[in-house]
Amino acid sequence: MAYEKFNILKSKGVPLQIENVDTDQIIPARFLKATKRVGFGDNLFRDWRYNQDNSPKKDFVLNNSLYSGKILIGGRNFGSGSSREHAAWAIYDYGFRCVVSSFFADIFRNNCLNIGVLPVQVSVDFLSKIFKEIDNDSNSELEVNLKEQKISIIKLRESESFDINPYKKNNMLNGYDDIDYLINIKEQIRIFADNTFL
């Protein structure tokens, strides 16, 4: 599925200073019954965000009007557990275009890249700086520059570079998708398949 191109994103950040945020928290299993990709943002972090009577939990960051923006900042090992792409969809559908953490789980990272959410892995120190800065000033903005592979805390004039596979980077900059690429080499795939025996 095609997605918006990603180039430079300048936005406030929403801090979720918790480690090992698993995809069951991002979107609990009972909200995976849909057959279409719509409305997942409403249930993003459902059980951290709402009480069982559906009233908002006041102390959760998404319910705090101080914080908003298109960048979600999470603690170490973000997105562990279930492979559900619904977690990435929920993040996208809510309005985030970038997740920053000091470490990502593999499948979640892939899922994000496949749907146009940029996972930005920063050092532990830089992550602490971001959390600290947003804690000091919730209006402080971050800039994520994909082309230059650089993330900056604008006010502090501090930046750090981040890694991304060159192929995946090119995809995100242009809104390309893997399936289009693969469909274009179908003949090569058929030849390969003809020689398999399992």
Binding site: A29, K33, A105, I107, N110, L198
Partner: protein, 464 residues
């Protein structure tokens, strides 16, 4: 450089290497279920493409199915629609569909090996992180997202950056009451829930070679719980014996040809791993988790670790203990238990039911415990009946349910209520995993059995 088992299988499946990009891997077997596939099929429609090799894809309904009264219409309209959608998509694209009530129905990672869909040296994917289970046969098997499901349906390929390689060696003799589940929970507790992220793991050593295929599946299944893309074990005589003559395994000359390949599947002596661990079997005891990720496990006789001995953030640790209603330093033995769940792709196989039955035989279910015993498949269910295990269960006051993922992820009605404690043979103890507010203690089938008959966390070794 000499190749590892993983290199051999991976490299032989590369269709193309994208310059400065991922490898394009050919996928031999693709399994789909109702939850992570509908949007992928919609994607095919939008692109106007069909499934390239429908005979290489197998569909089953498991995540979202009831475990009682499967002969009746599904009450939840959303669940019913999801199953119907998979049925329609499978029919439209010519994919075998083993839906509810079908004799081959069951959890995707249980039925794959049962029918010989899983074979050594193959690449196997499914939109489910526990696809790593199939690595027990020496296959490269891993979980994928829905975009990747669409990728495999439309092109039988997937784009992946080759992970790093890790080997975990365990030698020695396992103690009494120490099962493959304990071995896995032990490893995860040592490596942490993210300790193998970025790696594909090979398990080696006599502890794994002497395990049954079911035991190997349990170990490989849990690879993802330490962040690994997958885990695998070199195929051996036991593997070949297990798969021979199953419905979808090669036959006759094809079998001989496959065997020639399968017998080359091991890591060369001088092959190099990016990371290697060695443990001694004697270190491993029956395990149980006390927190909200599978890395938070301890020997059942131990106390809950103090915050200052834990790597990582103290606030996250405290949040986890608060959720569980536990304090650091407390012993797990004797903790109250409200629910026991035997089942899932981790421990829903016949061996698990045999082990459970052995402990409960001649004892009664504790009155304070609600027990959900859910076979991984119809084949497992049939064996439970044929082997007389059902009679043992009934005698002790237990009921057997119908196959499915059930309370492992609680998408159906099998939900543990808020605040209640469940000893579960499944794979995840995340907050709310078994129902909103539920509290999960992961353990082996025999620790679950001990809890079921005593009504509290109990060292199963006192019941032998």
């Amino acid at each position: 450089m000499s190749k590892t088992l993983f290199d051999k299988v991976w490299d032989s499946h590369i269709v193309q290497q994208v310059i400065n990009g991922p490898d394009i891997l050919f996928i031999d077997r693709h399994m789909v279920h109702e939850v992570t596939s509908p949007v992928a099929f919609l994607g095919l429609e939008k692109r106007g493409v069909s499934v390239l090799y429908p005979e290489k894809t197998f569909a089953t309904a498991d995540h979202n199915t009831p475990t009682i009264n499967q002969h009746l219409p599904i009450k939840d309209p959303l669940s019913a629609k999801q199953l119907k959608t998979l049925e329609n998509n499978s029919a439209k694209h010519g994919i075998s569909y083993w839906g509810l009530g079908h004799k081959k129905n069951g959890i995707v990672h249980v039925v794959g090996p049962e029918y010989g869909i899983t074979v050594p040296g193959a690449t196997i994917v499914c939109g489910d992180s526990h696809t790593s289970t199939h690595g027990a046969f020496g296959a490269i098997a891993f979980g994928i997202g829905t975009s990747e499901v669409e990728m495999v349906l439309s092109t039988q390929c997937i784009m992946q950056i080759k992970p790093k390689k890790m080997r975990i060696n365990i030698n020695g003799e396992l103690g009494k009451g120490v099962t493959p589940k304990d071995v896995a929970l032990f490893i995860i507790s040592r490596l942490t829930t993210s300790g193998a992220t970025g790696f594909f793991v090979e398990y080696a050593g006599n502890v794994f070679t002497s395990m049954s295929m079911e035991g190997r599946m349990t170990v490989c299944n849990l690879s993802i719980e330490m962040g690994a893309r997958g885990g695998m074990i070199a195929p051996d005589k036991k593997t070949f014996h297990y798969i021979k003559n199953r419905e979808f395994t090669p036959k006759g000359k094809s079998w001989d040809k496959a065997m020639d390949y399968w017998q080359t599947l091991y890591s060369e002596n001088d092959s190099v791993f990016d990371k290697e661990y060695h443990f001694d079997a004697i270190e491993i005891e029956p395990m149980i988790t006390y927190g909200t990720n599978p890395g938070m496990g301890i020997a059942i006789t131990e106390g809950i670790p103090k915050a200052d001995t834990i790597q990582g953030g103290a606030s996250t640790y405290q949040k986890s203990l608060n959720y569980m209603g536990y304090n650091e330093g407390e012993k797990m033995i004797g903790k109250p238990v409200d629910f026991v769940f035997l089942g899932s792709c981790t421990n829903g196989r016949i061996e698990d039911f045999r082990a459970f039955a052995e402990i409960i035989k001649g004892r009664k279910k504790a009155p304070n415990v609600t027990a959900w015993l859910v076979p991984g498949s119809h084949k497992v269910l049939t064996s439970i009946k044929e082997e007389g295990i059902l009679d043992v269960l009934k005698e002790s006051g237990f009921e057997l349910r119908e196959p499915g993922c059930s309370a492992c992820l609680a998408m159906n009605d099998d939900k543990v209520p808020a605040g209640k404690y469940a000893v579960s043979t499944s794979n995840r103890n995340f907050e709310g995993r078994q129902g909103p507010g539920s509290r999960t203690l992961l353990a082996s089938p025999i620790v679950a059995a001990a809890a079921a008959v005593t009504g509290k966390v109990t060292d199963p070794r006192i019941l032998f």
